[in-house]
Each structure stands twice: as C-alpha cells, then as structure tokens.
C-alpha cells in the first residue's frame, strides 16, 4: 500500500528547449513544483520520446506498466519553446494535436518574444497556455486549472474519482455495485492495472490529485490522496 507519493504517481512533464540554460531552468521549476520532468533539446526528440514516429502515428501512450513502476513513456503535459531550429514549438504542437493518440496531451508554449499573432496562432492550434520567458514559478500555477479541469472532465466521463485512503471501505462496497468503474482506488494491484490500461494519459495525474477545493491551491501534488 505504498501511500507515499512515488515518482510514478506524479504528473510527468516533457520539456522541450534548444537552450541548455532554459532546459535547466524549466526542469528546476517543474521539479520544485513536484512534477516529474524529462527534458529534450528538439521537437524531433520530443516526438520520439512520445513514441510518435514517421511510419506510424501509433499507440505510444498506452503504458503497459503497473502503477508502482516508473511510467517512462507516459507524458501528461508537454511544455515547449517556440523558437527552435528545425522543428519549431508550433510545428511540434501541430504534430501532437494531429496525432490521434497524443492530441489529448496539453501543450504549453514558451517564448521570449511577445508577439500577439504568434500567441493567438498557438492558442488556436490548441495550446493550453502561452508563457513569456523567462518563465517563473507563478506561471506554473496557471497550469493548475488546466490540470484540474482535465481531471474533472475525465471524472465525469468515466466516473473516476480520487479517494483518500480513509474512505477506502466505502468504495469497496461501491465497487461491488459498479464493477465497471475503474478508478476505485483499491489495494488490489490488478484493479489498478486495469485502470492504467484503460485510462492511460490522465491516470497518474488523477491519482495524485484530490478534487477537494483546498487541495487545488496546493502547488504540490505528490502525497495527496495517492491511490494505493
């Protein structure tokens, strides 16, 4: 019953930037906010990491790992620089949104230039947010509503809930009535494996977040109501 927030339960962000300094910065910012982070230096490498290759728009994000392992491939959010040689952040955004398997991943664009047309173009293409560089900790707080919103939408779709340990028993009862529901975060591992296989992308996020209002303001998601 590893209640302790393991790495696998955290929100995994893929950060893309050709500047080493900016990669270091964004990595630190994200880690400080308790996200799990992977950094790459180009859009091409980002797509590789996401599992999207030229020959197939495949199914890269179905993690076939159990919840207590590191979910290496699963990415919950992409944050990318706009100006990069080769594939720009905008190109990367487009590719992600065009992919059937990746299009639900929220993408955030960062840029040092405050160009309104650029900003609106990115937002129209489906970017969640547009950050002006240098990115600050306060900017990352703007991501929370998006995370919470997705968590909630997903909840409504699949009736998945994040339940604190203390009402575990209640759920045990519920589970018996609604065997369909997957998110009942019960100790049995197989239950959770089902969860992961079906709900892929949002799972690790949901498991780390609580729908309670007080928790929404907390910048750190690890350790809260972690599914056991």
């Amino acid at each position: 019953m590893g209640m302790a927030a393991t790495e696998s339960q955290q929100f995994h962000v893929l950060a893309v930037d050709d500047s080493l300094i900016d990669r270091k910065l964004i990595e630190r910012l994200l880690r400080t906010s308790s996200y799990q982070v992977t950094t790459v230096d180009s859009g091409t490498k980002a797509l590789e990491f996401l599992g999207l290759r030229e020959n197939h728009d495949g199914t890269p994000n179905t993690p076939s790992v159990s919840p207590n392992n590191h979910q290496e491939v699963e990415v919950n959010m992409v944050i990318t620089d706009y100006c990069m040689p080769g594939m720009t952040g905008y190109d990367l955004l487009k590719k992600i949104k065009e992919s059937s398997s990746l299009r639900n991943i929220p993408v955030v664009i960062m840029s040092s230039e405050n160009v309104p047309s650029r900003i609106s173009r990115c937002l129209e293409e489906g970017a969640e947010e547009f950050f002006l560089k240098p990115v600050r900790l306060s900017d990352l707080n703007r991501l929370k509503p998006h995370i919470m919103k997705r968590s909630k939408l997903k909840d409504e779709d699949q009736k998945q809930q994040v339940i604190p340990e203390k009402i575990e028993n209640l759920l045990e009862v519920q589970k018996q009535h609604q065997p369909q529901e997957e998110a009942q975060p019960q100790p049995p591992l197989e239950q959770q494996q089902q969860n992961n296989n079906n709900s892929n992308k949002r799972k690790s996020m949901e498991q780390s977040l609580s729908p309670e209002p007080t928790d929404r303001t907390r910048p750190r998601y690890s350790g809260i109501a972690t599914v056991v």
């Binding site: 500047s19 270091k24 910065l25 630190r28 040092s112 600050r136 900790l137």
Partner: protein, 210 residues
C-alpha cells in the same frame, strides 16, 4: 579548543584568495570592494583589535556584504528579479543551482561573443542573419538568468543588425563585451563572498575572554 576547523589569519587569507596579502581582519573588511569600477565602497572594518573571525561575526558580515552587493547590482539594473528567481530555486536538494546555471551561461556567452566578433571582423562581412541567431541565443540566456543590462544591449545590437548597420553593430558589440565583463566580475565576487560566508559559518570560533 584546538579542535579542527579553527582558522588562523593566514589560512583565511588563503580562503580569500590572497588578493591583498593582508591579515584576516582587513581581508574581511575589504571583501567585496569593487575592483572594476570602484563604485561600491567597502565598509569600514570593525575596530576591536581582534580579527573578525574570532568574534564570530565573519559569517554575518559576509552575509551583509553579499546582500549589499546584490542590492547594488539590482539598483544599477545589472540584475533583475529573474536572478532572484534563480536563487529561490536553489535549496538543499539543489544547493549549487545558481552557480551551475551561471557557469553554463558564462561558457555559452563567451562562445557567442567570440562568434559575433569573428563575424563582424570579417572583411567581407554580410551575414547579419547569422549574427541575429547568435544574438538571439545570447539575449535569451541573458534574460533567463536576469542579466538585464546585457539583455538590453543585445536588443540594441539586434536593431543594428536588422538595419544592416555595421558600425552600429560594432559599437553594440563593444558595449556588449564591456557589460558582459562587468557582469561576470560582479557575479564572481558574489560567489566568492558566498563561499567565504559558507566557510565562515561552518567554522568553530574559539571562545576568547579578553
């Protein structure tokens, strides 16, 4: 008393880097005095007759020095709030974050500056676009560490490249090199004081009853 960790005046001198070859008290007193422009005045040493380290004040005074230098740099517009953000990101899990990032910055910037100068010095120079690329990189990283004055000079430099203004570019490059040197010196000073402070804070001061 007499256990390890006791600094003598000579060893402290070594710590400071032997800049002036003076005894411990004077060293501390002068720590942080600006060598480049002389604008930042050193504070007057505490006149107790005892080396400062023995009074256990070393760490505190160095802390004050560090903050004074920082305040000066902010006031002069050399650094901005982004530098503070860097410091905020430093903690026990990442205790050298600021110096790591800044050292990367130095390394990259010097390369970019060399490239810029190389381009401009070419007899048949015409590749403003390439200069623009180097400049954007330099500008981006300068802004990311909070080097405000350097960033601003990059902006002016960029404007010159956009107008294919070679003499303007040359002037801007000189200013850029100057600002960069100044920044580097100041940041080195800052790190040096911080190192001394960390050392001083870790030292056990012998109790004196004079």
């Amino acid at each position: 008393m007499g256990s390890g960790g006791r600094l003598t005046g000579n060893r402290l001198q070594g710590v400071v880097g032997g800049r002036r070859g003076c005894n411990g008290a004077e060293e501390l007193a002068r720590a942080g005095a600006c060598e480049v422009t002389g604008e930042w005045k050193s504070r007057s040493p505490v006149k107790t007759g005892l080396p400062l380290w023995m009074l256990g004040l070393g760490a505190d005074l160095l802390w004050a020095d560090m903050n004074r230098l920082l305040a000066f740099l902010f006031h002069q517009g050399v650094l901005d709030e982004q530098f503070l953000q860097l410091q905020q990101l430093q903690d026990e899990t990442s205790p050298n974050f600021v110096s790591e990032v800044v050292n990367i910055y130095f390394h990259e910037s010097e390369k970019l500056l060399r490239n810029l100068r190389g381009l401009l010095m070419e007899r048949e120079f015409s590749d403003y676009k390439k200069m623009g690329i180097h400049l954007n990189q330099l500008m981006g990283s300068s802004s990311s560490i909070g080097a405000k004055r350097v960033t601003n000079v990059c902006l002016a430099f960029r404007a010159a490249t956009e107008h294919n203004n070679r003499p303007g570019c040359l002037r801007a490059l000189e200013m850029l090199e100057h600002e960069y040197c100044y920044l580097k010196n100041k940041l080195h000073e800052l790190f040096q004081i911080e190192q001394q402070r960390a050392l001083a804070a870790g030292v056990r001061y012998p109790v004196q009853n004079n």
